[in-house]
């Protein structure tokens, strides 16, 4: 059979009838499934239940009673653990709070309200609220919460294409050198959301050294999946060092959390940056809190016995549960769409998502008819600012939460819905 864009009229009608009847069969099953949620299943959560147990001792290594006030920016032993794990010097990090998203929000609030050091770290720049306009580059497809945070502050997302090895750098360099209102770029370096790819060392180096019209331009480096491998282990380029070596020690701000290492919503967040930026963050943090939840921090240290290798081992165990789910979805995409030319997708190397491009103009329709058949997909457009995918083509699948059995049923529905939407479109053409 030819690829579907070359179907003859009668072949198309036959396939349409076939898929319509298949769709009605699936709909009749009265399914209620969800492929939209980038959250772990209880099988994965159970592997961290040790965190919930008794805390034998409530003293930190230096004798601090973690039940009481004190310690602004994180227990030293947890900083050390993160330093070993991520290769970030302890003096460049602030550790605490349950959410890296909150650290991102605080970072924007800092820049907007108080301003930040320039990338070289030689002067203080004015608060962003005093700028006529602020723009942030958002590689697409990307992470909706980055877009929404950006928009919440009144900044304008500027999209550039996301390639397999990072953002389109020619385009990025052209933009940032010309426009001083472009103040930053969002990057998910390792296992990008949603495509699951890795930014190359070369592209990271170009980000670090590129000329920017805004002296206080920022690389917003969301290392959310820094240890969330699915098959082989990879490591994100060391952006803080790359920026320092390029003469812009304050250019990058990096984020990480244990939300998807242990428990989403009850993890520990981290923000890291150049020393002047961290100093500035701490000065305001001191007015904002007496300290983060040190009991949660000590539990995290204890659970991993303070050792980075224990974190890696734990992540391998988690991956062993997640991997079959990803493999199932990828197998179903491979087998279900072989020879059709309908979709394009990449095997994610890690992270939580599979990004699929369906025929242009079909993504919304797929989501709508999948919903009718009892399968919730992430809204089409979610991977673009304002929820607007100009091609109406990208869909983000999240295989982590459902069971294998549920995933299989979900993929029955997904496959038929994509085919149906594509055939309907072809019929109208």
């Amino acid at each position: 059979m030819p690829i579907w864009s070359e179907l003859k009229r009668d072949e198309l009608q036959k396939l349409l009838a076939l898929n319509r009847s298949r769709y009605e069969e699936l709909k009749a099953l009265g399914l209620s499934l969800d492929l939209s949620r980038g959250k772990p299943g209880s099988d994965v959560l159970d592997m961290s239940n040790g965190l919930l147990g008794a805390l034998d001792d409530y003293r930190a290594e230096d004798g601090t009673d973690v039940r009481n006030y004190g310690v602004l920016d994180g227990l030293p032993e947890l900083k050390k653990l993160f330093s070993d794990l991520l290769g970030i010097p302890v003096e460049n990090m602030i550790v605490g709070g349950n959410s890296s998203l909150t650290h991102m929000y605080n970072t924007f609030a800092l820049f907007y309200l108080f301003g930040a050091p320039d990338g070289m770290g030689v002067m203080d720049c004015k608060p962003w609220h005093r700028e006529h306009s602020v723009k942030i580059i958002c590689p697409v497809p990307g992470y909706d919460r980055h877009f929404n945070l950006t928009i919440d502050f009144g900044a304008k997302p500027i999209t550039v294409p996301m390639c397999d090895d990072g953002p389109d750098m020619d385009e990025t360099e052209k933009l940032v050198v010309a426009d001083p209102s472009i103040k930053g770029i969002w990057i998910v370096p390792l296992y990008s959301n949603p495509t699951g790819q890795i930014i190359s060392k070369e592209k990271a180096a170009r980000l670090a050294r590129m000329k920017t019209a805004a002296p206080d331009f920022r690389i917003l480096w969301d290392d959310a999946y820094g240890v969330h491998h699915l098959w082989d282990e990879h490591r994100a380029p060391d952006i803080l060092s790359a920026c320092r070596e390029a003469g812009y020690p304050e250019r990058a701000v990096s984020f990480f959390s244990t939300s998807k290492v242990n428990f989403p919503g009850s993890g520990v967040g981290l923000v890291a940056a150049g020393s002047r930026t961290v100093e500035r963050m701490k000065a305001h943090l001191r007015k904002q809190t007496i300290g983060f939840d040190k009991i949660s921090q000590l539990r995290t240290v204890n659970f991993f016995e303070g050792k980075a290798e224990k974190v890696r081992l734990h992540m391998e165990r988690l991956a062993a549960v997640l991997r079959p789910k990803f493999e199932l979805v990828l197998d179903r995409l491979d087998s279900g769409f072989e020879g059709t030319g309908l979709i394009s997708y990449k095997r994610p190397l890690g992270g939580y998502f599979i990004s699929v491009d369906v025929p242009e103009g079909c993504a919304k329709r797929v989501v709508a008819i999948a919903k009718e058949a009892g399968v919730v997909l992430t809204p089409a457009g979610a991977t673009f600012p304002y929820g607007e995918d100009p091609k109406d083509s990208n869909l983000r699948l999240a295989p982590s939460f459902p069971s294998l059995d549920e995933l299989d049923k979900t993929m029955d529905v997904f496959e038929v819905c994509v085919k149906l939407a594509a055939l309907e479109k072809a019929e109208k053409a």
Copy 2:
């Protein structure tokens, strides 16, 4: 003996010699004591160790797995517990995070970055960063962290005297009606920091109904000690209702946390306000976090079996440990300074502090010589914005952390230091 301001020269010299020798004796003991820290002792912390134990079930009442994502503004059962405890409707509160100070900071950030509804709730006011100047009324003596937060945002603290029944309202009303740049007032309603007194219903009502030149004027109601009684139980006036009844449903923002109920730094914070303000807070919160630490929230509910009366019982137990410490300090102030006319102080009705006014111009000197004798006191001036007490007279004593034995020694030093500073001053006069 006459009060010390009427001493004859020879009496003064004799007392000076006596207290100098007493001071040298104490100094020779090589003490290392601290009366500066408003934090619980481990005796009090131990009473909440049940919170650290195993979590038998990780399901909230509605079945939510608290280990996973979800729930933006607090578990319903914890909201209900706080509602029962504080008399705040659940729909007016956001519950979560480990720190009420962070809620205060976020509230300021919201007003500065995005603006807030006016007090009547009929229009949206412009962001405070667009105002030429912002001033916040700070009753003094007051809480240093309120001052520092205010100053951090670039707002100017305007002081008014703190009376036993709340701020000087004649002065407050005169200020707010005349100056549209006055945007708020800090109030610690129950057991004010540091004087330990209670704002009267009448004064709360005046705050609620007073005419303000700024339409978006805010009562920043820090109910930090809402359940922290020392002798009898009291309750702060219901400021949200008072404001609503006065036609300003959005005027008050109230804060509370369990930092000094269970564990400082690992508690649960609460912010409550009028429904339009809460709606606005939630809209931005959604961009800032996926949710607060629900495991910590569920632990809190479980520890108190979801019952407000269990919280009250727990606070009674805590008070039983704290009370003797306060009584010791008060007894030592009573007996040590009887008939001298040197100091004035009020018995705090609850909270964490005892506020003492020493002779004008002596507070800094007392702190300095106490330090030399091995006793750390809160820096003189801490209860005033910028650390500047115009009379150099107010000192804040924090009896909660030391043991009774340590407190007794501490009061030996305090008594001698105040007397010595006062006599030195009189000698120079």
